[in-house]
């Protein structure tokens, strides 16, 4: 257990998580000041998704500490979860429901009754009058609906796991706009990416993971494509 962290952003010390005998994350230290944005690079299987899922409290760490706003994230997860949003590979959508119904469901679960989902769907470029199930959507359209659902909330820590995957160029631009908007609101961002040339300008710092460890850290502008295979 580390002492109370010096800043009220995201502080990670010695974070480790294994699946069976294999350590997916093995002693990661991170510091992301409040309102900052960190880009996490690394090859497939390097531990990016596990790291983000630990930060989102989807996975319990097997060792180490995560602090958010000077509070232990896992121990205080019930209180801190409304502050954190994770946008990940799994869309978390109900495939038999329309995009509109999906947003209504998630809004109601968050206690937002009377929400009109049209604005959120317009924001991500999905026509609100489409009544067919999400199952019939392309992967990119599903990612847009998942983004609309994430934007229903007003988090202070926004975690994005390969947010550009499956998106067309306008979709990628949309993610950039959303990240810029969130940063303007003072939201802290942690973003896992294989595209440092696109996502680098959105961030203040970058790290590269290899076999669950941080093997490089620096400025996003120094992150070359060799660092993000």
């Amino acid at each position: 257990m580390v002492n109370r962290p010096e800043h009220d952003g995201l502080v990670v010390r010695g974070l480790a998580r294994r699946f069976g005998p294999r350590w997916a994350v093995a002693g990661v230290d991170l510091d992301v000041p409040s309102g900052g944005a960190l880009m996490v690079l690394g090859a497939n299987g390097s531990g990016k998704t596990t790291l983000l899922r630990c930060l989102a409290t989807a996975l319990a760490p097997h060792a180490g500490d995560i602090w958010w706003r000077r509070r232990p994230l896992w121990a205080d997860r019930a209180a801190l979860r409304p502050d954190v949003v994770l946008l990940t590979h799994a869309t978390r959508l109900y495939e038999d429901l329309s995009a509109r119904d999906n947003l209504l469901v998630w809004a109601r679960l968050a206690g937002m009754t009377g929400l009109d989902p049209r604005a959120a769907l317009d924001r991500v470029g999905i026509p609100a009058d489409r009544t067919e199930p999400v199952r019939t959507f392309s992967a990119g359209m599903k990612r847009r609906v998942a983004l609309a659902r994430a934007l229903l909330r007003t988090p202070s820590l926004f975690l994005l796991d390969e947010p550009l995957a499956a998106l067309d160029p306008p979709g990628r631009a949309l993610i950039g706009e959303v990240v810029a908007e969130q940063r303007a609101r003072g939201v802290t961002i942690v973003l896992a990416s294989h595209h440092p040339e696109t996502t680098g300008p959105w961030c203040d710092a970058a790290v590269r993971l290899e076999r669950g460890r941080v093997v490089w850290s620096g400025l996003p502008s120094d992150a070359t494509s060799e660092l993000a295979p």
Binding site: A58, A90, T91, E95, V105, R108
Partner: protein, 226 residues
């Protein structure tokens, strides 16, 4: 507490909306149960035997339909990782359990209500006792399968072969409730001459109280221990 009740209502609404938007699932359950009813009626041969097995046949149909329905209830959560999304949203694990268990009980109760006139017609077994007590059996019996069923469906949803594993775990556990529901329903169809239905219903309600309390606590611990 108000927030918990609101979240339970939201989960019930969500699950029923998913069932409504995928009517093939509901009609599949019903057809499955009707097939069992017809098979048993033809196998019985005589009206006397049909009347004696009508209550049991109704519950066999509902039980087998429930294993399909419970399995589907969590396969939609597992399909795109929605279950994890619900925990992180965050939806209180208690609200998640009681919402899903209530929705499952309502679906099962709906199947029971739809099967009742068919059972009466096909088995020639009218409800000679109180129809309100009969409804009580449908409500309490559906609840008896739904609570432990929701818990086990969540546990097995992450496993390979979930649809095989679920009945293997669930059937032994709910057997006392099914015996009570089956016997009580049969007694009601015979007019309840010995005034036994109340006792069987009481047993069923006691089973519900124990399992709705225990399953809720266990569900919270399991879903919060990734």
């Amino acid at each position: 507490m108000i927030r918990l009740v609101q979240q339970i209502a939201a989960v019930v609404w969500k699950d029923l909306l998913i069932e409504w938007r995928g009517p093939a699932r509901l009609s599949g359950l019903f057809v499955f149960a009707v097939a069992i009813l017809l098979l048993m009626a033809f196998a019985a041969g005589s009206v006397e035997v049909m009347r004696k097995i009508a209550g049991g046949t109704l519950w066999v149909g509902m039980l087998l339909a429930s294993t399909r329905s419970l399995d589907q209830s969590f396969s939609v959560e597992a399909e795109q990782g929605a279950l994890e999304g619900l925990v992180l949203w965050p939806v209180d694990p208690l609200a998640l359990f009681y919402g899903k268990a209530l929705a499952n009980a309502l679906v099962l109760f709906g199947v029971g209500v739809a099967l009742t006139p068919l059972t009466i017609a096909v088995m020639d077994a009218p409800i000679a006792g109180s129809p309100w007590v009969y409804l009580g059996f449908l409500v309490a019996g559906s609840a008896a399968v739904a609570a432990p069923g929701t818990l086990y469906a969540m546990i097995t949803s992450q496993a390979r072969g979930a649809s095989v594993l679920l009945p293997l775990l669930l059937l032994p556990l709910v057997m006392p409730a099914l015996l009570a529901a089956s016997r009580g329903t049969t007694v009601l169809m015979e007019g309840d001459p010995m005034d036994q239905a109340g006792g069987w219903l009481g047993l069923l309600i006691a089973f519900d109280l124990v399992h709705w309390s225990l399953s809720g606590l266990l569900f919270s611990r399991i879903v919060e221990n990734p």
